[in-house]
Symmetry: C2
Subunit: 222 residues, 2 copies
Protein backbone atom coordinates (compact mmCIF):
# COMPACT_ATOMS: atom_id res chain seq x y z
CA UNK A 1 0.00 0.00 0.00
CA UNK A 2 2.48 2.63 1.19
CA UNK A 3 5.18 2.89 -1.41
CA UNK A 4 7.72 4.41 0.97
CA UNK A 5 8.45 3.45 4.56
CA UNK A 6 7.91 6.43 6.83
CA UNK A 7 8.64 7.24 10.45
CA UNK A 8 6.03 8.63 12.80
CA UNK A 9 7.82 11.98 12.78
CA UNK A 10 7.70 12.14 9.00
CA UNK A 11 4.05 11.16 9.02
CA UNK A 12 3.24 13.90 11.50
CA UNK A 13 4.88 16.48 9.27
CA UNK A 14 2.93 15.24 6.25
CA UNK A 15 -0.27 15.50 8.23
CA UNK A 16 0.63 19.00 9.36
CA UNK A 17 1.32 20.11 5.80
CA UNK A 18 -2.00 18.63 4.73
CA UNK A 19 -3.82 20.38 7.53
CA UNK A 20 -2.34 23.80 6.82
CA UNK A 21 -2.86 23.49 3.05
CA UNK A 22 -6.47 22.51 3.69
CA UNK A 23 -7.24 25.85 5.34
CA UNK A 24 -4.83 27.98 3.34
CA UNK A 25 -4.46 26.52 -0.13
CA UNK A 26 -1.10 26.86 -1.85
CA UNK A 27 2.43 26.21 -0.72
CA UNK A 28 2.97 25.80 3.03
CA UNK A 29 5.66 28.04 4.51
CA UNK A 30 8.33 26.77 6.85
CA UNK A 31 7.31 28.95 9.76
CA UNK A 32 3.68 27.90 9.57
CA UNK A 33 4.75 24.26 9.51
CA UNK A 34 7.12 24.73 12.44
CA UNK A 35 4.36 26.45 14.42
CA UNK A 36 1.89 23.65 13.65
CA UNK A 37 4.46 21.07 14.73
CA UNK A 38 5.47 23.00 17.83
CA UNK A 39 9.09 22.96 16.74
CA UNK A 40 11.69 25.35 15.35
CA UNK A 41 11.90 26.56 11.77
CA UNK A 42 15.35 24.98 11.55
CA UNK A 43 13.94 21.56 12.44
CA UNK A 44 11.17 21.96 9.91
CA UNK A 45 13.68 22.82 7.17
CA UNK A 46 15.62 19.75 8.20
CA UNK A 47 12.61 17.51 7.87
CA UNK A 48 11.53 19.11 4.59
CA UNK A 49 14.83 18.05 3.06
CA UNK A 50 14.27 14.48 4.19
CA UNK A 51 10.69 14.41 2.93
CA UNK A 52 11.79 15.96 -0.33
CA UNK A 53 14.42 13.27 -0.85
CA UNK A 54 11.80 10.64 -0.27
CA UNK A 55 9.62 12.43 -2.83
CA UNK A 56 6.83 12.85 -0.36
CA UNK A 57 6.75 16.62 -0.84
CA UNK A 58 7.69 19.16 -3.47
CA UNK A 59 9.91 21.61 -1.70
CA UNK A 60 11.49 24.77 -3.03
CA UNK A 61 13.87 26.63 -0.78
CA UNK A 62 12.38 29.82 0.60
CA UNK A 63 9.19 29.20 -1.45
CA UNK A 64 7.37 26.64 0.65
CA UNK A 65 6.25 23.05 0.29
CA UNK A 66 3.35 21.05 -1.12
CA UNK A 67 2.54 17.37 -0.77
CA UNK A 68 3.38 15.05 -3.65
CA UNK A 69 0.79 12.54 -4.80
CA UNK A 70 2.35 9.94 -2.51
CA UNK A 71 2.65 12.37 0.37
CA UNK A 72 -0.97 13.34 -0.01
CA UNK A 73 -2.01 9.71 0.01
CA UNK A 74 -0.04 8.98 3.16
CA UNK A 75 -1.52 12.02 4.91
CA UNK A 76 -5.03 11.01 3.87
CA UNK A 77 -4.50 7.46 5.13
CA UNK A 78 -3.28 8.82 8.43
CA UNK A 79 -6.33 11.01 8.83
CA UNK A 80 -8.51 8.06 7.89
CA UNK A 81 -6.87 5.89 10.54
CA UNK A 82 -6.92 8.66 13.12
CA UNK A 83 -10.63 9.21 12.71
CA UNK A 84 -11.51 5.52 12.54
CA UNK A 85 -9.66 4.95 15.79
CA UNK A 86 -11.51 7.88 17.34
CA UNK A 87 -14.79 6.26 16.39
CA UNK A 88 -13.56 3.04 17.97
CA UNK A 89 -12.53 4.77 21.18
CA UNK A 90 -15.84 6.58 21.54
CA UNK A 91 -18.32 4.05 20.16
CA UNK A 92 -16.70 0.86 21.43
CA UNK A 93 -14.56 1.77 24.41
CA UNK A 94 -16.86 4.47 25.72
CA UNK A 95 -14.45 7.39 25.88
CA UNK A 96 -15.83 10.92 25.61
CA UNK A 97 -15.19 12.99 22.48
CA UNK A 98 -12.77 15.22 24.35
CA UNK A 99 -10.61 12.32 25.54
CA UNK A 100 -9.65 10.56 22.35
CA UNK A 101 -7.34 12.83 20.43
CA UNK A 102 -4.07 11.83 22.09
CA UNK A 103 -4.83 8.15 21.77
CA UNK A 104 -5.66 8.52 18.11
CA UNK A 105 -2.45 10.46 17.52
CA UNK A 106 -0.61 7.31 18.55
CA UNK A 107 -2.93 4.76 16.99
CA UNK A 108 -2.86 6.37 13.55
CA UNK A 109 0.78 5.30 13.19
CA UNK A 110 0.11 1.60 13.66
CA UNK A 111 1.22 -0.08 10.46
CA UNK A 112 0.12 -3.27 8.84
CA UNK A 113 -1.80 -5.00 6.14
CA UNK A 114 -5.56 -4.44 6.19
CA UNK A 115 -5.79 -2.97 9.64
CA UNK A 116 -7.69 0.15 8.59
CA UNK A 117 -10.01 -1.87 6.38
CA UNK A 118 -10.82 -4.40 9.09
CA UNK A 119 -11.36 -1.63 11.59
CA UNK A 120 -13.59 0.20 9.13
CA UNK A 121 -15.64 -2.96 8.59
CA UNK A 122 -15.89 -3.56 12.32
CA UNK A 123 -17.09 -0.03 12.93
CA UNK A 124 -19.69 -0.25 10.17
CA UNK A 125 -18.02 2.15 7.75
CA UNK A 126 -18.59 5.36 9.68
CA UNK A 127 -18.37 8.45 7.49
CA UNK A 128 -17.76 10.95 10.27
CA UNK A 129 -15.69 10.83 13.42
CA UNK A 130 -16.91 11.79 16.92
CA UNK A 131 -16.17 15.46 16.18
CA UNK A 132 -18.11 15.42 12.94
CA UNK A 133 -15.03 15.38 10.73
CA UNK A 134 -15.37 13.32 7.55
CA UNK A 135 -13.49 10.03 7.26
CA UNK A 136 -11.98 9.51 3.80
CA UNK A 137 -12.74 6.10 2.26
CA UNK A 138 -10.11 3.45 1.52
CA UNK A 139 -9.43 5.10 -1.85
CA UNK A 140 -8.77 8.41 -0.14
CA UNK A 141 -11.97 10.07 -1.31
CA UNK A 142 -13.58 12.71 0.84
CA UNK A 143 -17.19 13.46 1.52
CA UNK A 144 -18.08 17.13 1.66
CA UNK A 145 -21.03 18.15 3.72
CA UNK A 146 -23.48 21.03 3.68
CA UNK A 147 -22.64 22.69 6.95
CA UNK A 148 -22.09 26.28 8.00
CA UNK A 149 -20.73 28.00 11.05
CA UNK A 150 -23.34 28.82 13.64
CA UNK A 151 -22.11 32.42 13.34
CA UNK A 152 -23.67 32.62 9.87
CA UNK A 153 -27.20 31.77 11.05
CA UNK A 154 -29.73 34.52 11.64
CA UNK A 155 -32.41 34.74 14.35
CA UNK A 156 -35.24 32.30 13.78
CA UNK A 157 -33.08 29.76 11.94
CA UNK A 158 -32.68 26.28 13.35
CA UNK A 159 -29.80 23.86 12.95
CA UNK A 160 -28.30 20.58 14.00
CA UNK A 161 -24.74 20.50 15.33
CA UNK A 162 -22.58 18.60 12.82
CA UNK A 163 -19.05 19.47 13.80
CA UNK A 164 -16.48 21.65 15.53
CA UNK A 165 -13.58 23.65 14.20
CA UNK A 166 -11.77 23.90 17.53
CA UNK A 167 -10.95 20.40 18.77
CA UNK A 168 -9.49 21.40 22.13
CA UNK A 169 -10.81 19.46 25.08
CA UNK A 170 -11.73 22.66 26.91
CA UNK A 171 -14.00 23.67 24.05
CA UNK A 172 -15.47 20.18 23.75
CA UNK A 173 -16.11 20.00 27.48
CA UNK A 174 -17.76 23.40 27.41
CA UNK A 175 -20.05 22.13 24.66
CA UNK A 176 -20.87 19.12 26.82
CA UNK A 177 -22.00 21.44 29.59
CA UNK A 178 -24.24 23.24 27.13
CA UNK A 179 -25.65 19.94 25.78
CA UNK A 180 -24.25 20.97 22.43
CA UNK A 181 -22.86 17.63 21.30
CA UNK A 182 -23.08 16.32 17.74
CA UNK A 183 -26.69 16.02 16.68
CA UNK A 184 -27.98 18.61 19.12
CA UNK A 185 -30.83 20.63 17.67
CA UNK A 186 -30.88 24.34 18.32
CA UNK A 187 -32.71 27.49 17.38
CA UNK A 188 -31.03 30.86 17.10
CA UNK A 189 -33.12 33.28 19.14
CA UNK A 190 -31.22 36.55 18.89
CA UNK A 191 -27.84 38.05 18.21
CA UNK A 192 -26.48 41.09 19.97
CA UNK A 193 -25.18 43.69 17.51
CA UNK A 194 -22.54 44.91 19.96
CA UNK A 195 -20.42 41.72 20.32
CA UNK A 196 -22.22 39.16 18.17
CA UNK A 197 -23.05 37.09 21.22
CA UNK A 198 -25.92 34.80 20.40
CA UNK A 199 -28.83 33.46 22.37
CA UNK A 200 -29.91 29.97 21.38
CA UNK A 201 -32.42 27.45 22.55
CA UNK A 202 -31.67 23.74 22.92
CA UNK A 203 -34.88 21.88 23.70
CA UNK A 204 -36.28 24.07 26.45
CA UNK A 205 -32.96 25.48 27.61
CA UNK A 206 -31.68 28.87 26.57
CA UNK A 207 -27.98 29.72 26.48
CA UNK A 208 -25.88 32.62 25.34
CA UNK A 209 -22.85 31.83 23.22
CA UNK A 210 -19.93 34.11 22.48
CA UNK A 211 -18.98 34.96 18.91
CA UNK A 212 -15.96 32.68 19.30
CA UNK A 213 -18.12 29.70 20.15
CA UNK A 214 -20.43 30.38 17.20
CA UNK A 215 -17.49 30.54 14.83
CA UNK A 216 -16.18 27.19 16.02
CA UNK A 217 -19.45 25.30 15.76
CA UNK A 218 -20.72 23.84 12.51
CA UNK A 219 -24.41 23.24 11.97
CA UNK A 220 -26.64 21.93 9.23
CA UNK A 221 -29.57 24.27 8.76
CA UNK A 222 -32.97 22.63 9.06
Amino acid sequence: MNTVPTTSAEENYLKAIFKIAEKEPGAVLTNALAAEMGTSAASATDMLKRLSEKQLVVYEKYRGVTLSETGNRIATDLIRKHRLWEVFLVDKLGFAWDEVHEFAEQLEHIQGENLAERLDDFLGHPRFDPHGDPIPDAQGHWLRRAQVRLSTLTPGQRGIVTGVDDHSSTFLQYLNELSLGLGAELELLERTAYDQSTKIRIRTRESVLSEKVCQNLFVRII
Copy 2:
Protein backbone atom coordinates in the same frame (compact mmCIF):
# COMPACT_ATOMS: atom_id res chain seq x y z
CA MET B 1 0.15 4.51 36.77
CA ASN B 2 3.63 4.24 35.25
CA THR B 3 6.00 6.01 37.57
CA VAL B 4 8.66 6.54 34.91
CA PRO B 5 8.18 7.64 31.31
CA THR B 6 9.60 5.02 28.98
CA THR B 7 10.33 4.82 25.27
CA SER B 8 9.19 1.94 23.09
CA ALA B 9 12.77 0.73 22.81
CA GLU B 10 13.17 0.63 26.58
CA GLU B 11 9.85 -1.15 26.95
CA ASN B 12 10.89 -3.78 24.44
CA TYR B 13 14.04 -4.47 26.40
CA LEU B 14 12.09 -4.80 29.63
CA LYS B 15 9.76 -7.26 27.95
CA ALA B 16 12.69 -9.23 26.59
CA ILE B 17 14.29 -9.44 30.03
CA PHE B 18 10.98 -10.60 31.46
CA LYS B 19 10.59 -13.22 28.77
CA ILE B 20 14.06 -14.67 29.20
CA ALA B 21 13.84 -14.70 33.00
CA GLU B 22 10.50 -16.47 32.74
CA LYS B 23 12.07 -19.48 31.03
CA GLU B 24 15.44 -19.32 32.71
CA PRO B 25 15.06 -17.87 36.19
CA GLY B 26 17.89 -15.77 37.54
CA ALA B 27 19.89 -12.91 36.13
CA VAL B 28 19.65 -12.37 32.37
CA LEU B 29 22.97 -12.21 30.55
CA THR B 30 23.82 -9.54 28.03
CA ASN B 31 24.29 -11.92 25.14
CA ALA B 32 20.95 -13.62 25.70
CA LEU B 33 19.26 -10.25 25.82
CA ALA B 34 21.01 -9.06 22.68
CA ALA B 35 19.97 -12.26 20.89
CA GLU B 36 16.36 -11.88 22.00
CA MET B 37 16.36 -8.28 20.80
CA GLY B 38 18.11 -9.10 17.54
CA THR B 39 20.81 -6.56 18.27
CA SER B 40 24.46 -6.46 19.32
CA ALA B 41 25.77 -7.08 22.83
CA ALA B 42 27.21 -3.56 22.79
CA SER B 43 23.78 -2.07 22.16
CA ALA B 44 22.29 -4.18 24.92
CA THR B 45 24.95 -3.01 27.38
CA ASP B 46 24.17 0.52 26.33
CA MET B 47 20.48 0.11 27.02
CA LEU B 48 21.10 -1.67 30.31
CA LYS B 49 22.91 1.40 31.54
CA ARG B 50 19.95 3.58 30.64
CA LEU B 51 17.46 1.20 32.24
CA SER B 52 19.63 0.95 35.32
CA GLU B 53 19.75 4.73 35.69
CA LYS B 54 15.99 4.83 35.47
CA GLN B 55 15.91 2.12 38.16
CA LEU B 56 13.91 -0.19 35.94
CA VAL B 57 16.48 -2.96 36.26
CA VAL B 58 19.15 -4.09 38.67
CA TYR B 59 22.26 -4.42 36.61
CA GLU B 60 25.69 -5.56 37.65
CA LYS B 61 28.46 -5.38 35.10
CA TYR B 62 29.42 -8.78 33.74
CA ARG B 63 26.91 -10.44 36.09
CA GLY B 64 23.62 -9.90 34.30
CA VAL B 65 20.41 -8.05 34.91
CA THR B 66 17.07 -8.52 36.66
CA LEU B 67 13.93 -6.41 36.55
CA SER B 68 13.26 -4.03 39.43
CA GLU B 69 9.77 -3.95 40.92
CA THR B 70 8.89 -1.05 38.62
CA GLY B 71 10.48 -2.72 35.63
CA ASN B 72 8.56 -5.88 36.30
CA ARG B 73 5.34 -3.93 36.54
CA ILE B 74 5.97 -2.16 33.25
CA ALA B 75 6.79 -5.45 31.52
CA THR B 76 3.66 -7.07 32.92
CA ASP B 77 1.51 -4.16 31.77
CA LEU B 78 3.02 -4.43 28.31
CA ILE B 79 2.24 -8.12 28.11
CA ARG B 80 -1.26 -7.41 29.36
CA LYS B 81 -1.79 -4.80 26.66
CA HIS B 82 -0.18 -6.96 24.00
CA ARG B 83 -2.48 -9.86 24.73
CA LEU B 84 -5.61 -7.76 25.12
CA TRP B 85 -4.95 -6.18 21.72
CA GLU B 86 -4.45 -9.66 20.26
CA VAL B 87 -7.85 -10.67 21.56
CA PHE B 88 -9.30 -7.53 20.00
CA LEU B 89 -7.67 -8.22 16.65
CA VAL B 90 -8.88 -11.82 16.52
CA ASP B 91 -12.27 -11.59 18.21
CA LYS B 92 -13.38 -8.20 16.94
CA LEU B 93 -11.48 -7.52 13.73
CA GLY B 94 -11.45 -11.12 12.53
CA PHE B 95 -7.73 -11.61 12.04
CA ALA B 96 -6.29 -15.13 12.30
CA TRP B 97 -4.14 -16.10 15.28
CA ASP B 98 -1.03 -16.16 13.11
CA GLU B 99 -1.55 -12.60 11.84
CA VAL B 100 -1.75 -10.53 14.97
CA HIS B 101 1.66 -10.54 16.60
CA GLU B 102 3.21 -7.66 14.68
CA PHE B 103 0.18 -5.48 15.21
CA ALA B 104 0.16 -6.16 18.92
CA GLU B 105 3.87 -5.37 19.13
CA GLN B 106 2.97 -1.86 18.06
CA LEU B 107 -0.31 -1.52 19.91
CA GLU B 108 1.16 -2.52 23.27
CA HIS B 109 3.10 0.75 23.33
CA ILE B 110 0.04 2.99 23.06
CA GLN B 111 0.01 5.08 26.20
CA GLY B 112 -2.81 6.72 28.03
CA GLU B 113 -5.11 6.78 30.97
CA ASN B 114 -7.46 3.81 31.25
CA LEU B 115 -6.95 2.45 27.77
CA ALA B 116 -6.12 -1.08 28.88
CA GLU B 117 -8.96 -1.11 31.39
CA ARG B 118 -11.53 0.09 28.86
CA LEU B 119 -10.28 -2.38 26.31
CA ASP B 120 -10.41 -5.16 28.89
CA ASP B 121 -14.01 -4.22 29.75
CA PHE B 122 -14.95 -4.09 26.09
CA LEU B 123 -13.48 -7.52 25.46
CA GLY B 124 -15.27 -9.01 28.46
CA HIS B 125 -12.18 -9.56 30.62
CA PRO B 126 -10.60 -12.37 28.64
CA ARG B 127 -8.12 -14.38 30.67
CA PHE B 128 -6.24 -15.90 27.76
CA ASP B 129 -5.11 -14.52 24.43
CA PRO B 130 -5.68 -16.18 21.03
CA HIS B 131 -2.58 -18.34 21.56
CA GLY B 132 -3.72 -19.52 24.96
CA ASP B 133 -1.30 -17.31 26.87
CA PRO B 134 -2.64 -15.92 30.12
CA ILE B 135 -3.48 -12.22 30.38
CA PRO B 136 -2.42 -10.69 33.70
CA ASP B 137 -5.10 -8.65 35.44
CA ALA B 138 -4.95 -4.91 36.05
CA GLN B 139 -3.01 -5.52 39.25
CA GLY B 140 -0.43 -7.56 37.38
CA HIS B 141 -1.53 -10.91 38.76
CA TRP B 142 -1.12 -14.03 36.69
CA LEU B 143 -3.31 -17.05 36.32
CA ARG B 144 -1.48 -20.35 36.14
CA ARG B 145 -3.14 -23.19 34.32
CA ALA B 146 -2.96 -26.94 34.46
CA GLN B 147 -1.52 -27.71 31.07
CA VAL B 148 1.23 -29.99 29.86
CA ARG B 149 3.12 -30.45 26.62
CA LEU B 150 1.53 -32.90 24.25
CA SER B 151 4.88 -34.71 24.30
CA THR B 152 4.19 -35.81 27.90
CA LEU B 153 0.95 -37.63 27.06
CA THR B 154 0.91 -41.37 26.60
CA PRO B 155 -1.16 -43.45 24.16
CA GLY B 156 -4.81 -43.57 25.09
CA GLN B 157 -4.79 -40.19 26.80
CA ARG B 158 -6.99 -37.42 25.50
CA GLY B 159 -6.50 -33.66 25.74
CA ILE B 160 -7.73 -30.27 24.67
CA VAL B 161 -5.33 -27.85 23.01
CA THR B 162 -4.80 -24.92 25.38
CA GLY B 163 -1.72 -23.14 24.05
CA VAL B 164 1.45 -23.07 22.00
CA ASP B 165 5.04 -22.51 22.99
CA ASP B 166 6.23 -21.59 19.49
CA HIS B 167 4.32 -18.51 18.31
CA SER B 168 5.75 -18.36 14.80
CA SER B 169 3.20 -17.94 12.04
CA THR B 170 4.55 -20.98 10.20
CA PHE B 171 3.84 -23.17 13.22
CA LEU B 172 0.42 -21.60 13.78
CA GLN B 173 -0.51 -22.02 10.14
CA TYR B 174 0.60 -25.66 10.23
CA LEU B 175 -1.67 -26.18 13.23
CA ASN B 176 -4.51 -24.59 11.27
CA GLU B 177 -4.01 -27.17 8.54
CA LEU B 178 -4.19 -29.93 11.13
CA SER B 179 -7.34 -28.42 12.73
CA LEU B 180 -5.32 -28.10 15.89
CA GLY B 181 -6.47 -24.68 17.01
CA LEU B 182 -7.17 -23.73 20.62
CA GLY B 183 -9.91 -25.92 22.03
CA ALA B 184 -9.33 -28.79 19.62
CA GLU B 185 -9.88 -32.16 21.26
CA LEU B 186 -7.47 -34.95 20.47
CA GLU B 187 -6.58 -38.47 21.46
CA LEU B 188 -3.04 -39.78 21.45
CA LEU B 189 -3.09 -43.05 19.53
CA GLU B 190 0.53 -44.14 19.45
CA ARG B 191 4.10 -42.89 19.78
CA THR B 192 6.99 -44.25 17.77
CA ALA B 193 9.91 -45.18 20.00
CA TYR B 194 12.45 -44.39 17.30
CA ASP B 195 11.79 -40.62 16.87
CA GLN B 196 8.93 -39.89 19.28
CA SER B 197 6.65 -39.05 16.38
CA THR B 198 3.07 -39.28 17.55
CA LYS B 199 -0.12 -40.37 15.90
CA ILE B 200 -3.20 -38.50 17.12
CA ARG B 201 -6.87 -38.41 16.28
CA ILE B 202 -8.86 -35.19 16.00
CA ARG B 203 -12.53 -36.05 15.58
CA THR B 204 -12.34 -38.69 12.87
CA ARG B 205 -9.09 -37.51 11.38
CA GLU B 206 -5.74 -39.09 12.17
CA SER B 207 -2.46 -37.17 11.88
CA VAL B 208 1.16 -37.84 12.70
CA LEU B 209 3.02 -35.13 14.57
CA SER B 210 6.76 -34.78 14.96
CA GLU B 211 8.37 -34.62 18.39
CA LYS B 212 8.99 -30.92 17.81
CA VAL B 213 5.31 -30.23 17.25
CA CYS B 214 4.36 -32.20 20.39
CA GLN B 215 6.83 -30.23 22.46
CA ASN B 216 5.39 -26.93 21.29
CA LEU B 217 1.74 -27.78 21.93
CA PHE B 218 0.13 -27.44 25.33
CA VAL B 219 -2.92 -29.49 26.24
CA ARG B 220 -5.16 -29.99 29.20
CA ILE B 221 -5.67 -33.65 29.86
CA ILE B 222 -9.29 -34.81 29.93
